[in-house]
């Protein structure tokens, strides 16, 4: 966390067509094959925040989700890759605040210490009073969530009230206490890449541990151009202050191939130090099953049927 520093965002310009070109290049030029691909896929599994954010979540599907988080890949596949006892689990489990208790209970029963992340502050739109938003954070932390995913107030970005945005996120940070704060920028609603950069900088200045691209509920979620801009902001913040802030894309990442592209993006823009669960997460739900299918294919040479792999 640093003080609000206006000049870090005042002269920023982002050129959209050039960023689009860079995004296309990265997808085309850094592909991984064979056993390296299997290794990268396993690494990608360890970055997943296994998520369920639906209106019809109940304790039964939360329990199933938590179990899947502890055993993301089928036992015999991991044994074939010689990775059975290496502690391959997902990075966290992400649920609505009302379901945090269920998640904590299910993980304890499974004997696993993966953190429970809760979304908060009027997820996904964020259009509720500040008082209730802060109270949501406190209640989620009380229930046992050790990571909180907050959404920023987009109206402050669109009206250019950067200092007010900084103050709000500062308050979220205080309400979290010891919990780990991820700030969701909802980039699909911010209007331009320049706004994305500025919002990222403000979020980092105000003390976020992670910046996250989107809620997963917007029309446009995590895309490569937006990610490039956010990663550049993280790198610039690191150069200015020496603090490493994490990055989480969420929403729209469904295939294993996409996840590999995301890994190479982070590796290209920020380097290998950011490829750890403390600094990189992927918010996904169906991604895990696609990765499992790719690993099944790698191990057995055959394509799995729907019922071959356990549901999450």
């Amino acid at each position: 966390m640093t003080k609000y520093n206006k000049c870090w965002i005042s002269k920023i310009q982002v050129n959209h067509p050039a960023v689009l070109r860079r995004a296309e290049q990265i997808q085309a030029r850094r592909t991984v094959k064979k056993e390296w691909q299997a290794a990268w896929l396993l690494k990608a599994v360890t970055f997943i925040d296994l998520t369920t954010l639906s209106g019809d979540d109940t304790s039964s599907n939360i329990q199933r989700l938590c179990y899947k988080a502890k055993y993301p890949i089928r036992e015999d596949l991991l044994k074939a890759l010689n990775m059975y006892d290496k502690g391959i689990t997902t990075a966290a489990v992400c649920v609505y605040p009302a379901r945090v208790c269920d998640a904590v209970k299910a993980l304890k029963a499974a004997g696993c210490n993966i953190p429970v992340a809760s979304v908060a502050t009027g997820f996904p739109a964020g259009q509720t009073h500040l008082k209730t938003r802060l109270e949501e954070i406190r209640l989620a932390v009380e229930d046992g969530a050790t990571e909180i995913d907050v959404v920023i107030n987009r109206s402050l970005v669109l009206t250019g009230q950067w200092e007010a945005l900084y103050d709000e996120i500062r308050q979220f940070r205080k309400a979290c206490g010891e919990a780990h704060l991820k700030t969701i920028l909802a980039t699909g609603e911010l209007g331009s890449l320049t706004n994305v950069y500025k919002a990222s900088m403000i979020a980092m200045m105000a003390g976020s541990d992670f910046i996250k691209t989107s809620t997963g509920k917007e029309t446009v979620n995590a895309t490569f151009p937006v990610a490039i801009v956010m990663l550049r902001a993280i790198r610039d913040f690191f150069w200015k202050t020496g603090n490493k802030i994490g990055f989480k894309p969420a929403g729209g990442i469904r295939s294993a191939k996409d996840s590999l592209a995301w890994l190479s993006l982070v590796k290209e823009e920020l380097g290998d130090e950011w490829l750890k669960p403390e600094l990189f997460r992927i918010g996904a739900s169906t991604l895990l099953s696609d990765i499992e299918r790719q690993i099944y294919h790698h191990v057995t040479g055959r394509y799995a049927a729907y019922h071959d792999l356990p549901m999450s």
Binding site: N15, A18, V19, R22, R29, L193, W239
Partner: protein, 639 residues
């Protein structure tokens, strides 16, 4: 109509696209191609084999794989109508000299360096990606000169060095590398360049994941190279980027235009006005705004100054392989014993005319330079005789000093004239046309004395005035946009003036030819230095009397004197941007040979007469095409 047989010469390292962009338009308009390729590349041979399988037309593409020593042999073959050369500067120059006087035309595309201008209102990270596209990838043909505004120098350098660390080099067919190798010769060249730069005090930074075997060379960033050092003057080889700072946009333009190369450049700025101003001001063939290296077959790509003036892509690319219909095929006028060192060097002394008969002639005309009549440096004049052998008048004997003065005056007038709106230029040309018509009787009587019948003389004067008006009207035409597949945003094809144009008028049609050459040159924004008809320069000088009152000073300059001597001075002048010569065959050969000095585009007639009164030859589109140069301006859009 199409030109005929094209001889194509490709450089030691060329990309597949470059080769296709030169061969395909030639074949499309109906020419046949003989290509000379370096022995290390089998791709053109494969292409020729494929084209040979087209049953009815077996010989349209022929490929010879051979060393560079075959280049002059191919170029001087009698059946070749045009040689398209793509390669290094010195070889291009040498080829220009050997081909002087041969029947083949020459099109040069030289040099591989490009320029990137980074202002402080740019998206620096994206500009760094532009540098990677330009110099540290397989997409760019050569090295890069990078001009960075001083206020963002540190930021830009830091980001560049960080980005270089992430580049990967390796064999080209490995899908995960950014750049490959370009052969041992290219590697030696760049090693020499970097060693020299270091010895001249520059800082060299290299990074990236590069194999250490011989032909691979790491991406290199050179900074603090003193501008006056020889390295800063030479072309930057691949994969080197030479970075220099600048303070203001004006300084940036001066630095950017201050090299003899004029290929392609990109401007990075988020302020539209500033970006367009820099884009219009750069003297290059292609300008990209906030992008680098974009190419498309419908957009003309070429250069100016010492990058050669041949084009590929777009309408200009097709004009390379076409010539105006109705013109005869060019003949060789090669004179093996033309001594380039002595041609036109000394002025033969003119004996004084016999005793003057008839009314006392007017005092001798001066030279029309800088908007007024001046005495020549040599302080002598030559007599002009009319068709019956009597003395018609005296004109000044211009020399090298006068040419120098005329070119200087033309350069001083150029910025103002080029900056005029097309409407203003049209108005001046129309005013001159009106003045010509007022002077009709004087001009017609002078023409009569030269042996032209009165009716024909009056018709000539009227036609001259009409031509001035027609070119004035055509000055309104501006560049037009092209639709490019794959780019969101317009690409403008601008037509810009060449600069100072030197014109040596033919002996025949002393008034009409003079006006027919003057009008298009001025209409497109050039300033001119003209050498009027040697047989009767008086008509041109009469027109000058009107130009003295109507035109800004220095816009059109007329120098009379010995034609060969003046041709020599103009052809060897490094600051004349283009030259048109309508004189003898020997003179044409000399002009082509001498143009190798600054590689100015030349148009010669090889001693053939031209029918100036016919529309096609006297006022056809060829004149308009040759009076201006093209620039492609790319404007990708999106926010």
């Amino acid at each position: 109509m199409r030109t005929g047989v094209i001889g194509l010469i490709l450089p030691p390292t060329f990309s597949f696209l470059e080769m296709m962009w030169r061969i395909c338009p030639a074949l499309a308009v109906g020419c046949t191609v003989v290509a000379l390729v370096p022995p290390a590349s089998p791709t053109p041979l494969l292409l020729a084999q494929l084209s040979g399988e087209l049953g009815p037309f077996p010989g349209i593409l022929n490929v010879i794989s051979g060393p560079a020593s075959l280049v002059p042999v191919l170029a001087s073959q009698p059946g070749i109508q045009k040689v398209a050369f793509c390669g290094a500067l010195e070889e291009g120059r040498a080829l220009r000299r050997t081909l002087a006087g041969e029947c083949a035309e020459l099109g040069l595309a030289l040099g591989t360096e490009s320029l990137l201008l980074l202002t402080d209102t740019a998206d620096v990270d994206s500009a760094v990606e532009g540098v990677v596209d330009a110099a540290w990838s397989d997409r760019g043909p050569g090295g890069l000169r990078l001009l960075i505004q001083e206020s963002v120098w540190d930021e830009a350098m830091r980001r560049l060095q960080e980005r270089m660390g992430r580049l990967r080099s390796g064999r080209g067919l490995d899908g995960a590398v950014d750049m490959g190798a370009r052969g041992a010769a290219a590697c030696d060249l760049v090693q020499r360049f970097v060693r020299e730069a270091q010895s001249q005090g520059a800082q060299v930074f290299q990074a990236g994941d590069v194999p250490s075997e011989h032909p691979f060379y790491p991406p290199t960033l050179v900074s603090n190279l003193p501008p006056a050092s020889p390295c800063a003057w030479a072309e930057v080889p691949w994969p080197v980027v030479v970075a220099s700072p600048f303070r203001t946009a004006k300084e940036a333009l001066a630095l950017a235009n201050g090299t003899p190369r004029g290929g392609s450049a990109s401007v990075w700025s988020e302020r539209l006005g500033q970006a367009l101003e820099l884009g219009y001001g750069l003297q290059v063939g292609t300008v990209w705004i906030n992008a680098h290296g974009l190419r498309d077959p419908s957009v003309p790509t070429g250069g100016c100054k010492e990058s050669g003036c041949s084009w590929h892509g777009g309408p200009d690319g097709l004009y390379e392989y076409l010539r105006p219909s109705g013109t005869p095929v060019r003949l060789s006028c090669l004179s093996k014993n033309l001594n380039y060192d002595t041609f036109g060097l000394a002025v033969p002394s003119a004996l004084p005319a016999g005793p003057e008969i008839g009314p006392s002639p007017a005092p001798p005309y001066g030279l029309f330079v800088g908007g007024r009549f001046q005495a020549p440096g040599a302080r002598s004049s030559r007599p002009i005789q009319d068709s019956s052998g009597n003395l018609h008048g005296y004109v000044a004997e211009g020399g090298a000093k006068d040419i120098r003065g005329a070119v200087e005056a033309a350069h001083q007038a150029f910025p103002g004239w080029a900056g005029q709106s097309p409407g203003a230029r049209a108005a001046l040309l129309w005013a001159l046309a009106a003045a010509l018509e007022r002077r009709k009787s004087t001009l017609a009587s002078r023409l009569e004395r030269q042996g032209v019948e009165l009716k024909a003389a009056e018709a000539e004067v009227e036609l001259s005035a009409r031509r001035l008006r027609a070119w004035g009207a055509r000055a309104q035409a501006q560049g037009h946009t092209l639709q490019v597949a794959g780019l969101r945003g317009p690409v403008l094809r601008l037509r810009e003036p060449l600069g100072v144009l030197a014109v040596v008028c033919p002996d025949e049609w002393p008034l009409l030819a003079f006006v027919s050459l003057l009008a298009p040159a001025l209409a497109y924004g050039n300033t001119v230095v003209m050498v009027p008809s040697a047989a009767c320069p008086l008509l041109a000088l009469e027109v000058c009397q009107d130009m003295a009152t109507l035109f800004p000073a220095g816009l059109a300059n007329v120098v009379t004197g010995d034609r060969d001597h003046l041709t020599r001075c103009l052809a060897l002048h490094q600051d004349v941007q283009a030259m048109w010569y309508f004189g003898s065959a020997q003179g044409s050969q000399f002009v082509e040979w001498a143009s190798a000095g600054n590689l100015k585009p030349v148009w010669v007639n090889r001693g053939c007469l031209r029918a100036w009164d016919h529309e096609a030859e006297g006022a056809g589109p060829e004149l308009g095409l040759r009076s201006a140069r093209t620039k492609a301006l790319w404007l990708p859009m999106g926010d």
